[in-house]
C-alpha cells in the first residue's frame, strides 16, 4: 500500500502547484516540493525492511488473464533509485523556483515535473514488467512535455520531438522484448523472471530478446548510436536537464540493465553488445565533450560518456563491475546534477552559454565558482571526491576482464584515454568559465551571484560529493551494498571502498589520466583546429532527413492505396479477397468429392438456368436502370422458387415478400437517381472488373461444388428431436428462430429496428431535387393514383391482413411466422401508400412506426426476461395446450409472444423505411421546375 502511495502521490499532487500558482511563486514551489517530501518520508518508513535485505511487495490483480498485475516491489535497487528521484527532485524544485522567470507558467512546469516524477517512481518500483513498461512510456511522454516547455522555441520543439521519437521507438522494441521474456518465462513478474536466467539464456529466442531489450536501454540511456537525441534535448530549461538528463530519465536505461542483470547477463551476446556499445559511447562522448563550446553541450556529451562508462561496466559481467556500475550511477547523479545547476546559474546570470564568451567568472561569482569547481573535479575523478572512487573501481575492472582474448589490453587503454579526455573537458569547464581573462560581449553586462536559495541545492549536492568522496564507508556503503546485491540478485563480492589501495595499476591509470588531461587541455588549440577540420556530422539534419524520407514514403504509399476512390478500394479489396481465398483453396487436391450427384430434372434445370440468365442479363443491361431492375426482380422470384423446390417453404415465403419490398424500395430510389448510367468505364477498367467478377464466380462455383459433393454432418438431429417436446412446435425452422436461437433473433430484430431508425435519421430534413421530366423528356403523369389500383387496394387490405394473421398464427407448426407475417402486413400497407399517396395513408394510419418497432423489440425482450420470474434462464419458453368451447383444443406458447415482437419490428421497420423514402419523393417543396 505504501508503495502504491509513493507512486500515486506525484500523480495526485500534480494539481497542487497548478492550484497554488496564483498565490505566489514560493507557495507554488512549496506545494510541489511537498509531494517528494512526503514520498521520502514514506520511502524511509520502509528503509529498515529494505536494509535488512527484504523485498517489499504488494500486488493487486488487474488483468490476470493477460498476466498483468498491479504489482510493485521495493528492494535495494528500487530504494536507491527512488531516493535519487525524490531527493534530487526536491532540490530541482527549489532550484527551479529561482530559475524560472516571473512570467513563465511555473504551475504548469511543476505539474509536468511531478508527472514525470511519478512515472519514474513507477518505473523503478514495478514488480510486473508490463507495468514497468507502461511507466517507461509515461516517462517518455512526460519528458516530451518538459523538454518542449519553452514551446515557442523551435529548437525546443525539435529536440522534444526527436527525444520522443528515439525513446518512444526504443520503448516499442522494449515492449517486444518484454513480451518475449514473458513468453519464455511464463510470467511478467520480476521475482520469477530474475530467477529464470538459465531458462532465458538457453532459449532460442534469447538473442532476439536481448537485442530488443537493449534497444530500449540504449535509446533511453543515449548509448551509441542512439546518443544524438540527448544534446538536442538540452533545449529544455536547465532544471529539466539537471533532473532528467543527469539523475533520472537517462538512468532508466541503465536501471533496466541493473534490474534485468540476473536474467539476461552472463552470455557472450551480453558481453559484446553491452560492453562494446558502452565503450564506443564512453570514448565518443568524452572526446566530443571537449570540443563543445556550449556549456550544456559539454555537460550533455559528458553525460553520454559517463552513461557509456556505466553500460560498459554492466557489460563486463563480473560481480565487482556491477558494484562499480551501481556506485557510479550514484556518483554521477550527484555531481552531474550539481554541474547542470551551476551551468544554469551561469546562463541565468550572464545570458549566454558560450564558453568562448563567458570568461573570468571567478571575480563575479566566487561562491558559485567554488561549488562548480568541486563538482567538475569530481567529474574528472580527482581524489577525495566521489567520482574518483567509482572511476578507480572502473579502471581496476577493465584490467580484470579477459573476454577480449589477446586484445585484453585494449580496454584499459581505451578507459585511460576516456579518462584523459574527461579530465581535459572538466578542466576546460573550470578554466574557461571562471578564469581565462575577461568576459566577451555578454548579454548581461554585470553578472553577479544568484539569489541565496538558488545555490542551496548545488551546495547540498557538492557537500555530498565531498562526503562520499572522503568518508565512503560511513555514508554510501550500506546503500551501495543493498542496491548492488539487489541488482546482482545474490551475494555481494568482497570489495573495499577505501580511498587508498596502495600503489597499483588503477592508481597509475588515474595519474596518467590526470596528467594527460592537463596536457591535452594545454594543447587544445591545435586540437580544436583539427576538430573543426573534421566533416561535420549533423545529427539533427540526418535525423530530419531520415524522418522526411519516412514521411514521404508513407505519404506516397498512402496516396497510392488511398486516392479517395471507393471504386478503387473495392477493386483492391475484392482482388485481395480473391487471392486469399484462392490461396486457401489451393491445397484442395480434388474438387470432386465422393458423394454422388443427384439426377437432373427438367423443371429445376429450367429454373436455375432462368436464375443464371436473369442475373447475367441484369448485369448486361445495368446501364438502363429500370430495365435492369425488372430483370433483377426475375432473379429474386427464381431464388424464391429455388428455396421452395429444395424443401424450404419458410425461406420461399420470406424471399417472396422481401422481394416485393426490395423492388418497391429500389423503384422509389430510382425516382431520384438518373435513369441511366453513362458509359464512362474505360475498356481497361471493364476488363479488370470482368476478370475480378469471373474469378470470384469461378471460385464460388468451385467452392460450392466441392462442398456439395462431400459428405456432411449436421447438428440438425438435435433440433428435429427437441422441436416438439422442447419448443412445442412442429415447424422446426420457426422453433429455432423463436426458441432455440431466440437470443440471435432478438439481436437481429434489434439490428433491423436500429437500421430503420438510422434510415429515418438520414432522411430527416433531406431535400432532393425532383426531376419534373423523365429521361425521355416527358412530364411525369399527374394522375398519380389510378382508379383501379385505388379500389382494388382497399378491397385487398382486409384480405391481406387476414392472410398475414393466418400465417402468423400457424407459424409455429406450419410454414409461416412473425417474419413472414410481418412482411405480408407491410406489403399490404405499402400498397395503400402506393395507391393513395403518403398524405392520404398517413391520415388514416395514425400510429408511429418508431413506436411499433420499439414496442416489438420491447415485447420480445420482455418475453425473454419473463422467464426469469419463474427462475429460468433468459428466453426459456413455455407452452401448454388449452381447450375452449367451440374452438376446441389449441396451443399457447410464450414463443408466440416473442414472435409477436418479431412481427411488430418487421412491420414497423419496413414501413418506417419505405414510407419515409416515399415521403421525401412527395416533398413538393423541393420540386425542381425545368
Amino acid at each position: 500500500m505504501t508503495l502504491a502511495l509513493i507512486i500515486a502521490l506525484p500523480f495526485l499532487g500534480a494539481c497542487l502547484p497548478l492550484l497554488a500558482a496564483r498565490r505566489g511563486r514560493s507557495l507554488c514551489a512549496a506545494a510541489a516540493a511537498l509531494v517528494p517530501l512526503l514520498g521520502l518520508i514514506l520511502l524511509f518508513s520502509q528503509s529498515s525492511k529494505v536494509f535488512s535485505g527484504m523485498v517489499v511487495k504488494s500486488s493487486v490483480a488487474w488483468l490476470p488473464e493477460l498476466g498483468l498485475n498491479l504489482s510493485l516491489r521495493l528492494d535495494g535497487l528500487g530504494f536507491l533509485f527512488a531516493l535519487l528521484i525524490l531527493g534530487i527532485g526536491i532540490l530541482v524544485i527549489v532550484y527551479a523556483r529561482y530559475y524560472l522567470a516571473r512570467h513563465e507558467p511555473m504551475g504548469r512546469f511543476f505539474a509536468f515535473l511531478l508527472l514525470f516524477m511519478g512515472a519514474m517512481l513507477g518505473l523503478v518500483l514495478s514488480e510486473s514488467l508490463l507495468l514497468m513498461l507502461m511507466f517507461w512510456e509515461l516517462t517518455s511522454l512526460s519528458s516530451f512535455l518538459l523538454i518542449s516547455f519553452w514551446h515557442h522555441r523551435s529548437d525546443a520543439r525539435r529536440g522534444a520531438r526527436m527525444a520522443l521519437t528515439v525513446t518512444g521507438g526504443g520503448g516499442l522494441a522494449l515492449l517486444a522484448g518484454v513480451l518475449l521474456i514473458g513468453h519464455i518465462v511464463g510470467s511478467f513478474e520480476l521475482s520469477e523472471v530474475l530467477v529464470a536466467g538459465e531458462t532465458i539464456r538457453a532459449h532460442g529466442l534469447y538473442p532476439l530478446t536481448l537485442i530488443l531489450v537493449l534497444l530500449g536501454v540504449f535509446t533511453k540511456s543515449a548509448q551509441f548510436p542512439f546518443h544524438f537525441w540527448l544534446p538536442q534535448a538540452m533545449a529544455a530549461p536547465t532544471p529539466v536537464s539537471a533532473y532528467l538528463h543527469s539523475a533520472t530519465m537517462v538512468k532508466a536505461g541503465v536501471f533496466l540493465l541493473a534490474r534485468l542483470y540476473p536474467a539476461l547477463s552472463g552470455s557472450d551476446w551480453w558481453f559484446y553488445l553491452v560492453s562494446l556499445s558502452g565503450l564506443a559511447t564512453l570514448l565518443l562522448g568524452a572526446v566530443t565533450a571537449l570540443f563543445q563550446h556550449d556549456l550544456k553541450g559539454l555537460l550533455a556529451y559528458s553525460t553520454i560518456s559517463h552513461l557509456g562508462l556505466i553500460t560498459l561496466l554492466f557489460g563486463l559481467g563480473s560481480d565487482l563491475a556491477t558494484v562499480a556500475a551501481v556506485f557510479h550511477i550514484i556518483n554521477h547523479a550527484i555531481f552531474k546534477a550539481s554541474l547542470f545547476m551551476a551551468a544554469g546559474i551561469i546562463d541565468h546570470e550572464t545570458g549566454s552559454r558560450d564558453m568562448r564568451r563567458i570568461n573570468g567568472m571567478w571575480k563575479y561569482m566566487p561562491h558559485t565558482a567554488a561549488l562548480a569547481m568541486v563538482a567538475s573535479a569530481a567529474m574528472a575523478g580527482v581524489p577525495l571526491l566521489n567520482g574518483f572512487l567509482s572511476k578507480e573501481m572502473f579502471f581496476s575492472e577493465t584490467l580484470q576482464q579477459n573476454l577480449l582474448g589477446s586484445f585484453h589490453w585494449l580496454l584499459p587503454i581505451a578507459a585511460t584515454i576516456a579518462g584523459v579526455f574527461s579530465v581535459a573537458y572538466s578542466l576546460r569547464f573550470i578554466h574557461e568559465v571562471f578564469f581565462n581573462g575577461e568576459p566577451v560581449d555578454l548579454p548581461k553586462a554585470k553578472p553577479h551571484e544568484p539569489p541565496r536559495y538558488m545555490k542551496i541545492p548545488v551546495e547540498v549536492l557538492v557537500f555530498l560529493c565531498l562526503l562520499v568522496g572522503m568518508l565512503p564507508g560511513w555514508t554510501v556503503a550500506p546503500l551501495l551494498a543493498v542496491a548492488a546485491s539487489a541488482s546482482l540478485g545474490g551475494e555481494l563480492p568482497a570489495y573495499s571502498l577505501a580511498i587508498w589501495h596502495g600503489f597499483n595499476l588503477p592508481l597509475a591509470m588515474s595519474i596518467v589520466a590526470l596528467l594527460g588531461g592537463v596536457l591535452v587541455y594545454v594543447l587544445r588549440q591545435p586540437l580544436f583546429r583539427w576538430y573543426e577540420g573534421l566533416p561535420e556530422l549533423d545529427a539533427q539534419g540526418i535525423f530530419r532527413r531520415c524522418a522526411g524520407v519516412l514521411v514521404d514514403f508513407s505519404r506516397d504509399l498512402t496516396g497510392l492505396l488511398e486516392n479517395g476512390s471507393l471504386q478503387r478500394y473495392l477493386g483492391l479489396m475484392l482482388g485481395s479477397a480473391l487471392l486469399l481465398a484462392a490461396f486457401a483453396l489451393a491445397p484442395l487436391a480434388d474438387i470432386d468429392g465422393p458423394v454422388a450427384l443427384t439426377p437432373m430434372d427438367g423443371i429445376t434445370v429450367l429454373g436455375l438456368a432462368a436464375l443464371a440468365l436473369t442475373a447475367l442479363l441484369s448485369a448486361v443491361f445495368h446501364r438502363n436502370h429500370l430495365v435492369a431492375l425488372m430483370i433483377l426482380s426475375g432473379s429474386g422470384m427464381m431464388v424464391a422458387l429455388a428455396f421452395a423446390r429444395y424443401s424450404a417453404p419458410d425461406l420461399a415465403l420470406t424471399q417472396l415478400s422481401v422481394e416485393v419490398v426490395t423492388i418497391i424500395l429500389l423503384l422509389l430510389t430510382l425516382f431520384f437517381l438518373p435513369a441511366r448510367s453513362p458509359a464512362e468505364s474505360s475498356s481497361l477498367r471493364v476488363i479488370r472488373d470482368l476478370l475480378l467478377a469471373v474469378g470470384s464466380g469461378i471460385l464460388v462455383a468451385l467452392l460450392a461444388y466441392a462442398v456439395l459433393t462431400r459428405p456432411y454432418e449436421s447438428i440438425a438431429a438435435f433440433f428435429l428431436e427437441n422441436s416438439l417436446s422442447g419448443g412445442g412446435g412442429s415447424n422446426v425452422v420457426n422453433v429455432i428462430l423463436v426458441d432455440f436461437r431466440g437470443f440471435d433473433t432478438l439481436g437481429e430484430i434489434s439490428v433491423l429496428a436500429i437500421a430503420a431508425l438510422g434510415i429515418y435519421a438520414l432522411l430527416y430534413g433531406l431535400h432532393l431535387p425532383h426531376p419534373a421530366l423523365d429521361h425521355n423528356g416527358r412530364p411525369w403523369s399527374t394522375d398519380s393514383h389510378p382508379m383501379i389500383l385505388d379500389s382494388l387496394s382497399r378491397a385487398l387490405l382486409p384480405m391481406a391482413l387476414l392472410v398475414s394473421a393466418f400465417i402468423f398464427l400457424r407459424g409455429h407448426n406450419l410454414p409461416g411466422g412473425g417474419f413472414i407475417a410481418g412482411l405480408i402486413t407491410a406489403v399490404a400497407l405499402i400498397l395503400q401508400y402506393i395507391a393513395h399517396g403518403v398524405a392520404w395513408t398517413h391520415a388514416r394510419l395514425r400510429f408511429s412506426y418508431h413506436a411499433l418497432a420499439g414496442a416489438g423489440v420491447l415485447i420480445a425482450a420482455l418475453t425473454g426476461l419473463g422467464s426469469w420470474a419463474f427462475g429460468r434462464p433468459f428466453l426459456t419458453s413455455a407452452f401448454g395446450h388449452f381447450s375452449l368451447p367451440l374452438v376446441g383444443e389449441f396451443e399457447l406458447a410464450t414463443a408466440m409472444l416473442f414472435d409477436l415482437g418479431v412481427y411488430l419490428v418487421v412491420v414497423g421497420a419496413t414501413l418506417l423505411i419505405l414510407s419515409n423514402i416515399g415521403h421525401v419523393s412527395q416533398d413538393e417543396s423541393s420540386k425542381e421546375v425545368p
Binding site: 429500389l666 415447424n731 430503420a756 406450419l814
Partner: protein, 109 residues
Amino acid sequence: MEALFAITLGVLTASGVYLLLRARIFPVVMGLTLISYAVNLFLFAMGRLRTGVAPVLGKSAEYGDPLPQALVLTAIVIGFAMTAFVVVLALRGLGEVHSDHVDGREPDQ
C-alpha cells in the same frame, strides 16, 4: 444437379461482383442484391439440396436440415434492411454532393 447449382451460384456472384465495381450507385445496389442472393443460396445449400423434405414435423418421412434455413431466413430480412440503409445513405449522399458516382464526385473530364 449440384454442378448446375454451383454454376448458377458462380454466375450470380460474377454478375454481382461486376455490378458492384460499377461507378454509379444504382448498379452497385443491384450488385449487392445479386451477391446477397448468391450468399443466401450458398449458405442454404450447406444443408444440402434435397427435395420434398421440408423440416415440418409430421409432413414427411425425412426432414431436411432446418438450421441453415433459420440462419438464411433472418439473413434475408436483415439483407433487406442493409440494402435499404445503403440506398438511403446513397440518397443522402446525392443530396449532399449532387452526384450518384460512388466516389462522391463526377470523374474529371
